[in-house]
Each structure stands twice: as structure tokens, then as C-alpha cells.
Symmetry: C2
Subunit: 645 residues, 2 copies
């Protein structure tokens, strides 16, 4: 118990780097421990209350025939309960809690009671709607929901050792395998999820049919005639192995492409892996926000065209950043390529983390990179726009959403985070992410190695890794040098090693206990530019430091509209530790030019030259993007005009 992986690649013949299970990773006090603690102690509680309040739990009681009344909410609401269970299972693995365990057991009992004798389960399609089962897989998410059930069941078994939920899950999987296949029904689900779930289930059951079923579903997209109406929205416009662009609903694409990479590690199908990589290149080399957010359009919650990355109308759903982390983790495992660990880190510290409040109890759905306090109504006639809720005072985190996919998604990510930090391959231990604590790693070829890590990352760039235990044979210790870390240095017992940003620095040797590796990542403040085809960012720079993207908020600049502030060569940006601000963070301080507000308030006027007229300068304060919208509501900008003034 407690050593089981989130992604268990120990028997996947085509994996390059196996993740070290979170149960083998100790997370010491620091950045992530704080956040995991908030989620465990407060966030999970709030989410459970919401599941009760909104009838999500009552729906299971009703489906089990124990409660009268109508189904409440939306037809995909079961999935939120399953994701909460998955998150709670990870929490139980990290810190035993009798109260949480009892609550988890209660929910599992209700789920088991609601399951139909043939293994099917969905509380909406029960009672009077039983005959509606599978009438519309394009839109009605039944396999998506069961996918989350399966993920929860696998997580619960690995985290607690109990088979109670896993038995439910195996029955559901058997039902799915009987119902869908080359000889029976062909449709996949309009919302991917079942594919990732079945791949991981196959690793737990050892049943090759589960893996085959996952691959079957993957290959049912892009059929002729189409199974899902052929839309890009559902990634049904072409067979997945032939898809080239990250199109359509962004969360769906991340789940789908993650499953493609995942399945390929077990099947060895190079074509499937290559297609996933091709989609990744489209998503992260041409369509991703600097925060790791994905999805440029509210319309269809979709990816935009190449370089279409509006800041104010970034959809960048929290779930897409999280799904992107799942995807990057699998491509990293499949290939060992540092670029996936880089984007995983970016999404983690920025695009995903921004989705949750410091106390773990409030959440963003959409994540713009520029915001104004004015409410922008997004209520649409007959259009589902879950993430578009806006409150007066602007974009604020909410305790819950009508479509509540994001809150439990960020919960399950945070509570399994330790599983994304380390990897092993024959004769090698990989450090993907830097967090203080300890890792006990069993190498696939048998060696055992323990490292203790001390760091105040991401606020400080020094990482000290001390070998506590190591095999007698040589081991490659592979440390990721982030792509932003120009000037990083690495010393082993005082002797310098070569490093190259954007790759793993590999040190080979027979390690002895007590050996200390010192990695120094440069934490200078830097400005980031966009590709010139990103029209939204022409003439603008973003402030960054380490893995963090920064932003400016109105509350720190009461005397100037944010749109009048410009960066320039004399901005003299410097980091400042502020232990009392929002639980402790490093701000970036400097000076900004203040442009003339406007000669008139005209929407369009004669152009008066390339440089704004400056009236003076003012103090500039930037805070990490993930920390915005936690103080007085107001405007926010990530990309700031830069002028050679």
C-alpha cells in the first residue's frame, strides 16, 4: 500500500521513464506541501459539501432505489463524484483520516448500490430513463462518466488496498467491453476519458481486453460514416492516428491525446505515439498560452488557429491545463524528452494552479491572461457555456460551477502531484520537478536509490540533492535543467558538471551515501516575448522568474490604469520576497513608464507616432499569475507593452 503509482508503467514494455509512485515520495514543507494540505484539509471538504448540496450524491441514492424524487443537475454530474473520490483516495494515501475514509466508504457504498446488475452505471440514465441508455454517445457522456469511475476505482485500490470500489469498476469495464466492440456497437464517447481509464485499468487487472478496448475506442474516431457526427469539436474529423492539429474542445483533446501516448507505451504502436506527439507540437508549439493554458476560444471551448491566443478572451479552462499535465506526463514517460517536463511544469505552476484559491476551496473555470473588473455577460440563448460565468466585479473564483469538472480535477492533480516529480529507467533515476523531501526509487533493473532534496523552489533556485542510499552499480542521475534556466550550474561534491537548458543533465557514477549534488537554477527576472504571429502580444512582454509567469493587478497600481503602464529598458525589475503577502510569495518590483491616458476618449483617432507619450514613471509590482484575483477585485494583465523609452 501507498507505493502504487498514478500511472503504473512498471509492466509497460514501451515506456522510457516510469514515474515513481507518490507513495514513495515524501513532500516536505514548502510550496506544494502547503497547497496539498489546503486541498486535503479544506478543498476536499468544500467539494464534498457541494456534491451533497447539489444532489450529486442524492442521485446515487435515487438510482439505488433508496430515495424518492427526480435526478438533480446535469446528466454528467456523476463524474464529479468520481473525481472527488479519486482525489480523496490520493489524500488517504498521503495522510490517514478516519473521517475522510468513512466518507469515502459511504460514497462507494452508494455507488455500488446504484450500479445495475449488468455493470452499467449512470444515475441519470436510470429509473424512468433506463431505456435512454447509450441513445446519444456523442453528447451524453455515459462512457466519460464510467471512465472517471474507473480512474477512481484504480486510484482507490492503489491508495488504500481496498477492492470495494475496484470490484464495481471491473464490472463496469466488463459491461463496456461486452457492449462496445468490432462485433457490437462502434461508437466511442463524444468526451474522451474512457480511453485513459481503460489503459490504466488494464495495468491493474492485467487483462489485455481492457487495453484492447481502449485502443478500439481511440480508433473509432474519424470513421466513415462518422460515429460522432464528424465534428472537430469531438475530434471526430479524422482517425486519431492521422490527426495533425490540436483542434476542437481543448479538454477533450488533452484526454484523447494523453490516452494515445498512454496506450502506445503498452502496445508499442509507434504510429499512435507519433500522432500524439504531432498533436502535442500543434498544441504546445503553436496554440498554448505562456501559462500552459490551452483553449483560445469560448466558442466550443476550443483550440484556436495557430498563434490565435487572445488574452482577455482566453478560455484556457483549468481542466485543459490539468489534462495537458496528464498528457505531458505520459509523453515524458514514453520518450524521456525534457520538453514535456518543461510544459508540465509551466502548466502546473501557472495555468493549473491559478484555477484554485490559496485555501483550496474556490476555483476558476476559464483563465484569461488579461481581465477587467467590468462584468462581461456571457449568457447565451441555448448555448452551454459553463466556464463563462462572470460576476460583478469581474472574473472571480467560485466555490462551485453548474458544470463542475474543474474543482475535482485540480484536487486530484494536486493530491497526486508527488507522482509527477521523479522517474526511473534501467540504471537511471530522473528528477523531473524540484520539490523538497525525499524519494525512494526502485530502479527497473533492481537497484534501489534514495535521495533527499532540499530546496525553496520555485522562490529560490538552489536545489540540494543528497544521496542517502544507492546501489553498488553505476546509476545515471538525471536532473532536468528547465529550458528557461540559462546559466544554470551543477556541482557534484564540488566539481562542476555541464548543463544545457531544456535537457536532462546526466551524471553517471556509483553513488555513495552522503554525496551531495548542488543544482543552481538562475532566478533572475526575465522578460518573455511571443512569436511575432501572436497578434495579441505585439509590442508586449511578459514578466517571468523561474517557472512562474507574473502578472500585474490593479490593486497594486491604484494611481494608474493598467493600460497606461509600459515596461522599458529602465524598468529595473527585481525580485522581492514577501512572506506576508498571500501566504508568502516573491513579487517583482520595478518601475513602469506611464503613458498619456489618451488625448481624447475616442475609440479611433489619428495615429500620432509609434511611441506612446509618457507622462512619467511609477512603481510597478508584479505577482505570480497563479496568485491573482485573491485581493481587491480589479484589472489584471500578463502581457505588458514594452517601449524603448
Amino acid at each position: 500500500m501507498n507505493s502504487a503509482a498514478v500511472i503504473d508503467l512498471s509492466k509497460s514494455p514501451h515506456a522510457t521513464v516510469q514515474p515513481v509512485a507518490p507513495g514513495r515520495v515524501e513532500v516536505a514543507e514548502g510550496f506544494w506541501d502547503d497547497r496539498m494540505r489546503s486541498m486535503r484539509s479544506h478543498g476536499l471538504e468544500r467539494q464534498f459539501e457541494q456534491c451533497e448540496l447539489t444532489g450529486r450524491l442524492r442521485n446515487f441514492e435515487r438510482a439505488a432505489g433508496r430515495l424518492e424524487g427526480e435526478f438533480e443537475g446535469r446528466y454528467y454530474n456523476d463524474s464529479d463524484v468520481y473525481k472527488w473520490l479519486e482525489a480523496a483516495s490520493y489524500a488517504l494515501a498521503r495522510a490517514p483520516s478516519a473521517a475522510l475514509r468513512a466518507r469515502v466508504d459511504g460514497v462507494i457504498e452508494a455507488i455500488a448500490a446504484a450500479q445495475r446488475p449488468d455493470g452499467y452505471i449512470n444515475t441519470y440514465f436510470s429509473g424512468p430513463r433506463t431505456s435512454w441508455r447509450y441513445r446519444n454517445l456523442t453528447d451524453e457522456h455515459e462512457l466519460y462518466c464510467m471512465g472517471h469511475l474507473i480512474q477512481a476505482g484504480v486510484a482507490h485500490r492503489r491508495s488504500t488496498g481496498s477492492d470495494r470500489l475496484f470490484e464495481v469498476v471491473v464490472r463496469a469495464a466488463e459491461h463496456i467491453c461486452e457492449t462496445f466492440g468490432p462485433e457490437s456497437r462502434p461508437e466511442p464517447d463524444g468526451h474522451p476519458g474512457i480511453e485513459l481509464a481503460l489503459v490504466e485499468l488494464a495495468r491493474e487487472t492485467g487483462n489485455a481486453a481492457h487495453l484492447r478496448q481502449a485502443v478500439f475506442f481511440l480508433d473509432q474516431r474519424g470513421a466513415d460514416p462518422p460515429n460522432l457526427s464528424g465534428l472537430h469539436y469531438h475530434q471526430d474529423h479524422a482517425p486519431v492516428r492521422e490527426q495533425r492539429d490540436a483542434d476542437g474542445h481543448s479538454v477533450r483533446l488533452t484526454y484523447l491525446a494523453a490516452a494515445m501516448a498512454d496506450a502506445a507505451m503498452d502496445t508499442g504502436e509507434a504510429e499512435m505515439l507519433e500522432a500524439s506527439i504531432r498533436l502535442w507540437e500543434s498544441a504546445y508549439e503553436r496554440r498554448a498560452y505562456v501559462t500552459g493554458g490551452l483553449g483560445s476560444r469560448y466558442q466550443g471551448e476550443a483550440f484556436g488557429a495557430d498563434y490565435e491566443l487572445p488574452n482577455d478572451r482566453a478560455y484556457a479552462e483549468t481542466c485543459a491545463a490539468v489534462g495537458g499535465i496528464f498528457w505531458n506526463a505520459r509523453l515524458l514517460a514514453a520518450t524521456g524528452d525534457a520538453r514535456y517536463a518543461d510544459w508540465l511544469e509551466t502548466a502546473l505552476y501557472n495555468g493549473a494552479l491559478v484555477g484554485v484559491s490559496p485555501d483550496g476551496g474556490e476555483y476558476f473555470y476559464a483563465n484569461p491572461l488579461a481581465a477587467d473588473p467590468q462584468p462581461t455577460p456571457d449568457d447565451q440563448g441555448g448555448v452551454h457555456s459553463s466556464g463563462a460565468q462572470q460576476t460583478v466585479g469581474g472574473h472571480q473564483r467560485q466555490p462551485w460551477y453548474d458544470t463542475a469538472c474543474c474543482p475535482p480535477n485540480i484536487a486530484r492533480l494536486l493530491l497526486s502531484l508527488a507522482g509527477y516529480a521523479y522517474g526511473v529507467s534501467p540504471g537511471a533515476l530522473w528528477v523531473h520537478q524540484y520539490l523538497p523531501g525525499r524519494v525512494e526509487a526502485t530502479l527497473p533493473d533492481g537497484g534501489f536509490m534514495t535521495l533527499r532534496v532540499a530546496t525553496r523552489y520555485p522562490w529560490h533556485g538552489d536545489v540540494e540533492l543528497m544521496v542517502e542510499d544507492a546501489p553498488d552499480s553505476p546509476v545515471d542521475l538525471r536532473l532536468r535543467i528547465p529550458s528557461w534556466a540559462d546559466g544554470a550550474s551543477l556541482e557534484v561534491d564540488g566539481s562542476r558538471e555541464a548543463v544545457m537548458p531544456g535537457s536532462y543533465a546526466a551524471m553517471r557514477g556509483v553513488w555513495s551515501a552522503g554525496t551531495t549534488v548542488r543544482l543552481r537554477l538562475p532566478m533572475d527576472v526575465r522578460l518573455v516575448a511571443s512569436h511575432p504571429r501572436v497578434q495579441a502580444n505585439t509590442g508586449r512582454a511578459a514578466i517571468a522568474r523561474g517557472p512562474l509567469i507574473y502578472c500585474i493587478e490593479a490593486t497594486d497600481h491604484p494611481e494608474s490604469s493598467l493600460d497606461t503602464l509600459v515596461l522599458g529598458p529602465n524598468s529595473d525589475l527585481e525580485a522581492r520576497d514577501e512572506p506576508d503577502l498571500l501566504g508568502g510569495l516573491t513579487t517583482i518590483r520595478g518601475s513602469a513608464g506611464v503613458a498619456v491616458q489618451v488625448r481624447s476618449d475616442e475609440l479611433y483617432a489619428r495615429f500620432e507616432g509609434g511611441k506612446p507619450e509618457l507622462t512619467g514613471s511609477t512603481a510597478l509590482t508584479a505577482i505570480p499569475y497563479f496568485a491573482w484575483a485573491n485581493r481587491t477585485p480589479g484589472a489584471m494583465r500578463v502581457w505588458i507593452p514594452y517601449v524603448d523609452y
Copy 2:
């Protein structure tokens, strides 16, 4: 016959300037005559074919019981036939055509046969769906369709003198007045249109009940409990008299706010007019594209927040530019304020005209201000996104759309355009728009004045107005000086008059035949800047000349990606007449700096200073925005980076 107005304010007690009916306006050879001719000779024909092809006409035959089979298409398709009829009626008034007249009569006959005995008409809600009538006014557009029927009937009567369609219309109006009202059903239509129609019908029938009914519908928005689900999308979030921001579906807002101004001219309700003006200030002072396009969001086909004006994802539906013209025309008539004539002109020459091909037969629905040839799929699961169709090769005009509101909308605008050029008020003749030809104006207090206008506007800025006939008493001749026309000059028989851009220059006198007024509008090339809060345009300028906004297209710049071209102080932009290009137009030529493509192809990289590194310069060619997408498909940009290089 032929003198009847599009908007007949001859008996509206609270109008300031009455439009001169198109039948009193001769349009001589030139810019608009070319376009009206194409629409009359080719566009109307193509649209009729599409109405036949897509079953829009068969639906009437079926509703009349003359044809078997199911209704074809969407439930609001009748409205396209009505708008075509309105356009065709204007065409008949300008140039008799036995063939067109026979076709119009045939359609009218089918409509009359399809009308139910109680006056109701909608070919979808007939036969087996008769009992569905008015089951869902929020979404199902029945009154919207009948509104277009009424507009067609009024136009047909005024244009041809025939009562055949008008009789149908009056029966439909009576049915509506009986069905909806304070004592009966309260709901307005989710899509405005009926309100404008009933106001104009009241002017034709003289029946005050029709005007009352229009005001009743206007005031049914924002009720408590809501009639239309209370959404901004339907402008149902507040009573119209209290609405402050141009929110929700942009076409709907323009039709609604136009009707508010229109009704106020007959009722004298200052509150209604003020609310329309307030909405106009929101729409045109904070939310309009430089082209006069409206609607920043695909999502909900909606207005965005203040200054939210993305270029690549501008929705800017052709119908919204057209609806904006209707709205501006009414506010101009209500107030005589030149700002409405300015935006009317901007929308006419840019945001509306771009919606139609030079031959009148192909149409844009959405009108981006930046486009790339790459297809950007916009197919959405279950989401209506009519304007989002994209073809391989990028954004191209189409012969028709599944939702085909735009083609007949641009047709009815073009064919009634002469009705927007002149106005009269007691003792005054107003020239709102400059086009060559002649106007015969009867002043409301009885005088009669005839002007002949010679101009090559918008290509050239000289306008010569010769008095042919005038009353013996003094008349104010009021010429609009466009807001962009800094340095305009005006001479009457050789003596200089003062002018102020953005206002009407008023010359009072007893005019004698042969007196010539010479207006010289400066046609220098100018650069336009956006308000600094328009984030999409930071560091960018748009090229303009006269009323025309220009753009650059890839086909004129085969050696450089458009994103590498920058304007600067040495761009030396000059106008060049090109009679052989796209039917004859004035291009703008100069030189652009060419920025280094990119050091790498990275999406994000270290920022290397505020100025792009230039590799040299290249010839720049800009063409009018309305003329783009008529040659080799490729990228297009309106807003171009400007650097002080």
C-alpha cells in the same frame, strides 16, 4: 409611386430630419451605382435560385397545401424570402423589369396562399406543427419572420403601388395585435424585428394600434418574471429604457435599438430615444470595429466588453453592420447629429460592403479584421454557429449560408441606399452622403429644391453640388463634413465657407438655379490609432483614406509574411488609382520595414527589446478592406504594427 420612403417620417412629429425617399434620388454612374447594378442584375438572381434550391420557396407551396413533403431547412427560413422580396421591391422601383416583377408576384401569390385564415403565417409552424405556434417565442422567431414580412409588404407597396402583399401584411399585423398585448400574451420575440416593422407599418396604415403594438413589444423585455429567460443574449436582462450597455447578440441589439429610436420619433417618448442613444454610445464609442463592424464574439454572436475588439476573431456579422446602418439612420433622423451619419458611412463603405462580392453574388457572414489562410474549424457540438463556416484556404465569401440572413440583408440595404443620402427639415436640405446624381427634395414646409451632385467620391474628395431649382425663400443647405476630413474646404460661387469636421456645414440663403457649391474633402492617406484600451491594437495603426479603411493582403506581398511587415515614419504612403484592379479602385502604396521573421520558431522566447530587428524594407500595397478576399486566397490584416524605425 417611386417617391415612397424607406423610412417615412413625413408624419412623425418628433423627427428632426426626414429622409428623402430613394425614388427622389437619382444615382448616377459611379461607386454605388456599380454595386447596386450588380446586386440588381446578378445578386438578386443568385439569391432567388438559392431560395428555390434550398426549399425556402417550396415551404410556402407546402404550407398552402399545394405540394407534398416535409418543411425544408430551419424554422426561420421564411424571413430570407421576405427580405429578398423587400430587396426586389426596391429594385423594381429603381428599374422596371417584367421578369423580376413576375417573379415577385409569384412569390407574393404563394405567401398569400400560405397565410392562415386568422392572419398567422409561418411555413414551419403549419401542417402537423400548427399546434406548436408560439410555443417558444424566445427561440423560434415567428414574430421576427412576420416582421420581415411586414417590412417587405410596406416596401412593396411603396415601391410598386400594389396592395397585394400589403393586404397579407395588414392581416398578419391584425393577428399579432389580437394575439399579443397587455390583456393577452405578453412575450416579445427573442429576435427583434417585429418592432421596427410595426413602427413603419403604422406610418403606412396610419393605424395607431400598430405603433402601440411596437412599443408594447419593446417594453416587454426585462420584465419580472422575464419573458425571454432574462438573458443578455436576448437583451432581456433589463427593460429597454434602462439598458446601458450594448450587450448580447449584436444583430438583435441593432434591430432593437433602431426600433427604439424609430418609435420615439412617432411617440415623442424622450426616455426611449435617450436609451437608444445610450446604447449607441456603448456600441460605437467603446465596442465597434474601425470598419463599423459590431460583435466581438463568436460565442453568442455577441458584443464583447468595452474595448474587447479582437481582429482575427472579430465576428462582426454582416447583418450587424447593416442593422447598425438602420440604427444610425434613425438616430440621425431623430437628432440631426452628424456622428450618426459618420458611423453610417463607415459601416456602409467597410463593415457592410465587405459582406458582398463585386458581382453581388457571394457573401461574408463573419468579417474578421485579420485572417490567415489556414482553416480554423468552428464546427461545434450542438452549437449554432452560422457565421463560422470556414473553407480550406481561409475565410472566403459563400454563395449562401444555412442560416442565410446576411445575403438578402445586404441586398435590401444596397437597393435602398439612395434613401440614406439626403434629408429635409423645415427650411433645410441635408446632404448626409456624397454620391453623384440628383435629388429632388420637397421640404416639410413646402419648398422644393433640386440639386445635381457631381463627384468621384469615395476615390476623390471633390464634390460639386449645383442648384437646379430652389424656393424663393431662404433654405439651409447642410453638408456633412466627415469627422476624418481635417482640412476640408467649402466654396459657394467662389466664396469660402467655414467647416468643422464631424458636423454639418450650414449655408443659409435664397438659392438661385446654377449656384454651385464646391466641397473639397481631403483625401490624404492617414493612419488611425485605437484607444489604448483596445489591447488587440497596441503598437498598431490602420491605413485609411476618406471613408475607406484599408487592409493588406498576402497576394500583394508574396515575399514576406504579413506579420513581418511594419509601418514607420518613412512608409511614404500614397494613393494610386488602379482602374484595372477589381473593377477599379484606389490602392495605397508605400514601403514597409521587414522584421526578422524570428530567431527561432519558438512560441515563447526571451524578449530582446522593444523594437523588432529589421532586415530591410519592401513595397507595401494596401487595398480597401471591402475589396479583400477577391483574389488569390491568403492572409489579410487591417491593423499593422508601427515602429519608429
